[in-house]
């Protein structure tokens, strides 16, 4: 670890801290339908959208109506994406003449992008046409992010409102989220990325002559190997910048290229890397301030932010330590950091980013449910790779996905407040609302659905030949690859231990189902809690009320998150990365 690396990590967190309030205030104004500087431009567009779609912007919905509208919207969008993928051969903007996507892969990808997961078991530049990337995938990058954000807003309204069953209008919230927040941010953000060299064009792929032709050994279809002289390279390109910015801002993570943010056309400079990192946490961090502002307790919002920041720093420190230490089995190799090299374990990392910016990206992308990567997590040391895994297992509540992080940590807040209530022997209260058995039951339902999905699918995959067929490494690392696939899917993250070949019918469909369960079956009980809280009266604070504003609350919240995560997933982790680490120390690698 170096002072330079730590400076960059802490500077990043400082920038996120400084952005939290302005973004939080702006989102509060947008969703409260207060005046903003964009109203003169966007209000006429908004009115036109409602007129064309027949939406009554003044009609509010109960939590059940809101959730069903969201489900129908997501279902129709998912089916449309599936159809686009299956018909892309006949659709425009396909200069490479790419064929239609296979049904299993089309289903998995449709589920993936609808749920904000963006798990990609395919090579995008050789599978998806420009039309599919823009009208299918980038469209979902926007709307799945908007859906996550408006659900977080509903949860905040549920806490703030009293004695009502109305929580807003799904169509109005989604429209305002897209028009006021995501589209303007992305317009400016894509210009910043283009200024750094991220490409944006509709050209067919370029074929160039290699300066140094290569001779390679290839295996033919009949199994015989032969030698081939490679003199040309195809350079993929396309409308990258417009997809890149929402990829991070919407915590989607699906790259235009297979190499994701390690690709120089997606992430060309240290500044573009820093900007992409800021985009990942900008909205989730801002939403903590929105929580505090709308509920009338800004200190509560900051307490939640502090708990998240603590867990984030813990994750970065652990990964940085593990990766900077290097591989103990590379005896006699200079793995120290100095002026000429980053040192440590550089396998799977870009030399231009080094260890610090790679682990920072890995921690941010898995703390948020982003899934974009600028280094390959599969190549991390066992303990270094375990941290991204744990981040997702904890529910991606450390800032988290746009909206998903806030409504995810809301579950842990309910549990933390409940535990505090049990300790002092009083009915637990949260910002003046009594937390009762129905709320705790729904919170546990949200926690359990994630657990059952991850462990259930992983357990089934490790004992079936079609589950183990895609694994590229034997032993505990193979288990980690399978576990990561389902953790990432159910957690709607989308990053991968990329050693696994997941482009099979089993993995495409099973991860697709895991993504749908992890997204929607978790959202429903959380929305039920929001609906239930909104109906309640507010009770005045008393001496017995557990404060949700200070260090004690933040500590209890962090403890609850860690205990729930540790109790649930420690056995699986001990058989995967922990065992791999111990075996590596004994001289055995996989």
């Amino acid at each position: 670890m170096t002072a330079n690396g730590w400076f960059q990590i802490l500077f990043y967190l400082l920038v996120i801290l400084l952005l939290t309030k302005p973004i939080g205030v702006f989102m509060t104004r947008v969703f409260n339908r207060e005046k903003t500087f964009l109203d003169a431009l966007l209000r006429p567009v908004e009115k036109l959208v409602y007129r064309l779609t027949g939406v009554d912007e003044h009609r509010e919905m109960r939590w059940t109506e809101y959730t069903i509208a969201m489900l129908l919207f997501s279902g129709v969008s998912m089916a449309l994406l599936y159809l686009i993928e299956r018909t892309q051969k006949w659709l425009p903007f396909n200069p490479q003449k790419l064929p239609n996507v296979e049904p299993g892969l089309a289903f998995g990808t449709a589920a993936s992008f609808t749920t904000n997961t963006n798990w990609q078991s395919y090579v995008p530049e050789t599978t998806m046409s420009y039309f599919t990337q823009m009208a299918g995938l980038a469209y979902h990058n926007f709307v799945s992010a908007a859906v996550g954000m408006v659900l977080a807003i509903v949860v905040i309204r549920g806490i703030a409102r009293r004695e009502t069953d109305k929580l807003g209008n799904f169509w109005v919230d989604t429209t305002r989220c897209l028009l006021w927040v995501l589209l303007p941010f992305c317009l400016v953000g894509s210009m910043v990325l283009v200024s750094q060299g991220v490409i944006q064009n509709f050209k067919p792929y370029a074929t160039v002559e290699l300066l140094e032709p290569q001779t390679v050994q290839v295996t033919n279809a009949d199994g015989k190997s032969s030698t081939q002289r490679v003199t040309q390279q195809v350079i993929a390109q396309g409308p990258v910048a417009s997809q890149e910015v929402i990829k991070e801002l919407g915590t989607n993570g699906g790259g235009f290229f297979n190499a994701n943010s390690a690709h120089p056309f997606e992430n060309p400079t240290p500044l573009s890397n820093f900007f992409e990192l800021v985009l990942i946490f900008a909205i989730p961090s801002g939403l903590t301030y929105t929580l505090g502002r709308v509920t009338g307790s800004e200190r509560h919002g900051w307490a939640v932010w502090a708990a998240m920041a603590f867990l984030f720093l813990a994750a970065v420190t652990a990964t940085y330590w593990a990766e900077a230490k290097g591989n103990p089995l590379l005896l006699g190799t200079d793995q120290r950091a100095h002026a000429l090299q980053s040192g440590g374990n550089m396998e799977g990392k870009e030399t231009r980013f080094g260890i610090a910016n790679s682990v920072l990206f890995a921690a941010a992308t898995t703390d948020a449910s982003c899934g974009a990567v600028n280094s390959m997590h599969d190549s991390y040391t066992p303990l270094g790779g375990m941290v991204p895994l744990i981040n997702i297992m904890l529910g991606e509540v450390v800032f988290g996905g746009v909206g998903a992080g806030l409504y995810g940590i809301f579950v842990f807040i309910v549990l933390a407040v409940f535990i505090a209530g049990l300790m002092v022997g009083r009915t637990p209260e949260y910002l003046g609302k009594k937390i009762e058995s129905y709320d705790v039951k729904m919170a546990m339902l949200a926690v359990l659905i994630l657990t059952f999905t991850i462990l259930g699918f992983s357990a089934f995959a490790v004992v079936r030949p079609f589950g183990t067929a895609g694994v590229s490494n034997p032993g505990p690392h193979g288990l980690s690859q399978i576990l990561y696939a389902y953790v990432s899917s159910a957690g709607n993250n989308g990053s991968a231990f990329a050693g696994i070949n997941a482009n099979t019918m089993w993995y495409n469909t099973s991860t697709g189902v895991a993504q749908l369960l992890g997204r929607f079956f978790m959202i429903i009980p959380i929305m039920a809690i929001a609906g239930n809280l909104a109906r309640k009266k507010t009770v005045p604070e008393s001496a017995g009320t557990f404060p949700v504003t200070g260090a004690l609350f933040a500590t209890l919240l962090v403890s609850t998150i860690l205990i729930v995560g540790a109790l649930t997933f420690f056995p699986a982790l001990s058989l995967g990365p922990i065992l791999e680490h111990l075996l590596m120390a004994a001289g055995k690698v996989f």
């Binding site: 279902g75 049904p103 729904m442 929607f520 609906g531």
Partner: protein, 32 residues
């Protein structure tokens, strides 16, 4: 054929999820 299966699976998932919403609301109603 597979296309029909996958489109039907999407529709079925939405239906089950709507049922889940109703079930959560019914549990609350029964409680109160």
């Amino acid at each position: 054929m597979l296309d029909m299966v996958f489109i039907a699976a999407i529709a079925l998932f939405v239906l089950i999820a709507v049922g889940y919403v109703r079930a959560c609301e019914r549990i609350r109603g029964a409680k109160s």
